[in-house]
């Protein structure tokens, strides 16, 4: 059991997560939404990486043949974060491509306007 001050990295990660999460949900501009998505993803990564950190220990790269568990930090979260970074860059690329396409068609980045335009288009048919 710890508190806000000792778990500072975790708390900051949650704050960042909430900033990203809210702007992904509420921002109307698509590019801003994607920035929010990226902030959310990096916040999750920070949260995960902070779980692996152990005070006063070094990166898990074996040096001088020392293979004692007590001298390195937990390597597993780093591996998971690597995976998570790949996922987030893939998703970002896809979302940006969707944005470019929508902009080509509707000439706006505002989701609401795009939505109205699309509805009207459907009604026309």
């Amino acid at each position: 059991m710890a508190s806000f001050l000792t778990n500072n990295v975790e708390v900051v990660a949650i704050v960042l997560f909430s900033i990203g999460f809210t702007s992904l949900l509420l921002h109307k501009n698509l590019v801003k939404k994607i920035i929010g998505l990226n902030i959310m993803d990096t916040a999750v990564d920070l949260f995960l990486a902070s779980m692996g950190y152990v005070q006063g220990k070094t990166a898990p790269i074996v040096e001088n043949g020392i293979v004692e568990a007590s001298s390195y930090i937990n390597p597993l979260p780093s591996g998971l974060v690597l995976t998570s970074i790949v996922v987030s860059v893939s998703v970002t690329a896809l979302m940006l491509a969707l944005t470019v396409r929508l902009y080509h068609r509707y000439h706006t980045l505002n989701v609401d306007e795009i939505y109205l335009l699309a509805r009207e288009e459907v009604r026309r048919k």
């Binding site: 809210t22 902030i39 990486a49 930090i73 940006l96 902009y103 980045l109």
Partner: protein, 93 residues
Amino acid sequence: MNLFLWILLGFLVICALAATFHRNLLSTVIIFMGYSVVMSVIWVLLQSPDLAITEAAVGAGVTGVLFFVTLKKIRQVDDEYSEGKKHEEEKQD
């Protein structure tokens, strides 16, 4: 090192807020790239050099470039669009 970490974490929050609330998209993207660089420094502090390299290459590098190209593409669409319009007006005249 603790103080340094605090400063960097504060910087991250400020960057995130600025990126969310700034009105200019280009500045937003640049702020986001700054955010990524700070993040990679934090990862060095958290003893994860693998992540630091990846974040620097991906977050500040490739993702940033993708955002830039997207914005550029959007401006290009706008340009073509107004050029097309000008063209049409000339024809009408």
